[in-house]
Symmetry: none
Subunit: 214 residues, 4 copies
DNA sequence: TATGAATGAGAGTTCATTCAT
DNA sequence: TATGAATGAACTCTCATTCAT
């Protein structure tokens, strides 16, 4: 009982209007943001304003929707986000700052993308497409490794382990993002974002002051 | 023949054998560890070795089981964990260290308790009992506030915001715990724990060196 | 996505009341008598007087119901029908006569069993459990071979091929049975059966007169 | 813009190219060869190389396709097959022989026509257009009556009932045809046909020897 | 207390049919 | 004519919940 539709969801990609595609993607991300099982295909079609049949015409199965979303967001993060960072400042704190600015653009287009991706990583046992989710996680780890390799660790204080320090910074920033995110009921917007950036700058300053030389 | 949903699960608490109670609790935590919707009552009764009818005799509804578990673990954390910390060192880094030692004891008795609690916090929208989950979160926030109030912030460097520094430390430690947890397939055991404690000590040392005076 | 319930439908066989089991079996045979796809599980539960859930509790899937029915009827035919013929007269015409009497008993208990089995053989492309249907067909062929081996072909006229003659008789009898069956709207009953037997006797007489010596 | 269900499928008959009409007819017969419910309109359009919309433009509904096919094949059988027999030998065995030769020509043009017609007769309860299926059956019965009326029963042995003998022969021949048909996986071809005719001749010989005078 | 067969609303999925192009 | 994306009613199947025993 394999999925009949190709995992590339050809029919969906052939939709000419980008707005319609994004409406469906956003509806799906919103619904899958709390895991696979909880998500209702009824809710997706209601939110996307399409019929039940059409959703399955595009993606074949509920799992097909999920797998497509996983691949789509993974690729999006890689192309629109991580790859933009290749040129990043070797100062990791500046790197994180740049990342946060890029996040804003993605969140405007896909307001639930971070909830969705986090759910895919955290709720891993609830996900049917284990290897895809695994891949997502390993890509994310690979990006972290790349970031670490690219960053100039000579900026750190010499008396502390640089890998561990890098981890501490990443975890703190990530948790801060999650903390803000959990306080936002529905979606990111301009106002949310300004608050986030302002506070983030303060946290980065503390890090600079404490973890960097001088 | 009282009201169906007794959030206190009186009948359950009247079970004389603690071993039987714990077997049911562990089966339920294990099953709810990936969220509410995903959990199957069939799996719980299979794991707990009791009948379907008996489970519902004790807790009334699936939601009843979940709510009870949420209250039970919250209270347990408060009594066996946070309250032990009230007497804790005012040095917050030592406080986190003590917390980690206490965790071990709880994990031995309820190996899935952290998975369960984390799921309850992270997957909050998947929880039917919104107010309880909210309560859990606010209790956790309250504990953090208490911790902050209790800790001696004069140990911190004077040139950084102490609340934010506290947050940074907490987030980093918490993310480190989650990172370790995600690498463990099934349960915590002795070996896992030793590795965790050793690395934790190293991270705490970095924090001390960077965030504390001198 | 294998069938979860064992193909032996253990739960169903554990029903203590034979009447209830037969009611379900008859409802299922009636519904599957025109092929697999056409059959509606709704119609089965309506006819059997049980709930939707219970049917799937017993058999797991629609295919599970069908496979069980195929096995059940195959075994029934073998034990209650073909095996009774092992002692049969070596005169094949008397053998067919005995078979027809035995059919009566089975048809009383399971009025749609012949429609069901014929459908399983004829509509073979509509059946999901190909190997079981194939097995049914090969069992039926095996029984025909046994019948042929057991019958005293020296009773036939010496100037005709005995295997082909056997086939001619079998086909004619079988088509006659089908012809009668198609004229009966709903079920076999006493009256139908008497008419059938009377006419069958006449056809067998013609065969005896024409195909046998003398 | 006339009534949706035109049982005459006027639009279809107006297609100028016979090849295109036959391609659609063959695709439909192939798909309906295992009954009405099982048939997929998607498979028909795929096989016929036309669009979904066009198929429904021609026939209105799935039932419309089926009814047209039923009428079309019935008329075809009557004009190209049974009517050719009106002039047939009064020797019924020769008549059946001639019939078999005519079948070949029809099967070449419409390889699935026998499967389709047999399905229509056997699966009669699966057919939505009851009256048409009934009509098909009664037409077939009428033809059989005509055949019987036309045949010279004085060729039969005087000590057997001539109607019943006629039936026996017809049933046997028909079952033999079905037996061969079931052994053919896909379509009739030259080779199949030669084997069929050779064996048929042998069966007809046995009938002649046994049922005819002398 | 304890059981597990029985229920039925709701979920994911299919497919004949329509209609804007 | 011809297309195929779009629809929604109907289907199979699930599972929290009940209740006779």
């Amino acid at each position: 009982m394999q999925s009949k539709e190709s995992p590339t969801a050809l029919k969906f990609l052939q939709i000419p209007e980008e707005a319609k595609r994004d409406k469906i993607l956003n509806a799906a991300m919103k619904e899958f943001r709390y895991g696979y099982k909880k998500a209702s295909t009824d809710a997706i079609v209601r939110d996307a304003g399409i019929s039940k049949g059409l959703l399955f015409f595009y993606f074949g199965t509920k799992q097909g929707i999920y797998e497509f979303l996983l691949n789509y967001t993974t690729n999006l993060m890689r192309s629109d986000y991580f790859e933009m960072l290749n040129l990043a400042h070797r100062d990791i704190l500046e790197g994180f700052w740049q990342m946060s600015l890029l996040k804003r653009d993605i969140c405007y287009r896909y307001p639930y993308i971070y909830d969705f991706i986090n759910a895919a990583i955290i709720y891993k046992a609830d996900i049917p497409a284990t290897e895809i989710a695994q891949n997502l996680l390993s890509q994310q780890n690979a990006v972290l490794s790349e970031l670490y390799a690219a960053c100039d660790t000579s900026l750190f204080r010499p008396d502390i382990d640089s890998q561990k320090t890098f981890n501490l910074i990443y975890w703190a920033i990530d948790a801060f993002f999650g903390d803000i995110d959990s306080k936002i009921d529905d979606k990111w917007n301009d106002e949310n974002y300004e608050i986030f950036l302002k506070e983030l700058r303060e946290y980065l300053d503390i890090c600079k002051r404490c973890f960097y030389k001088n």
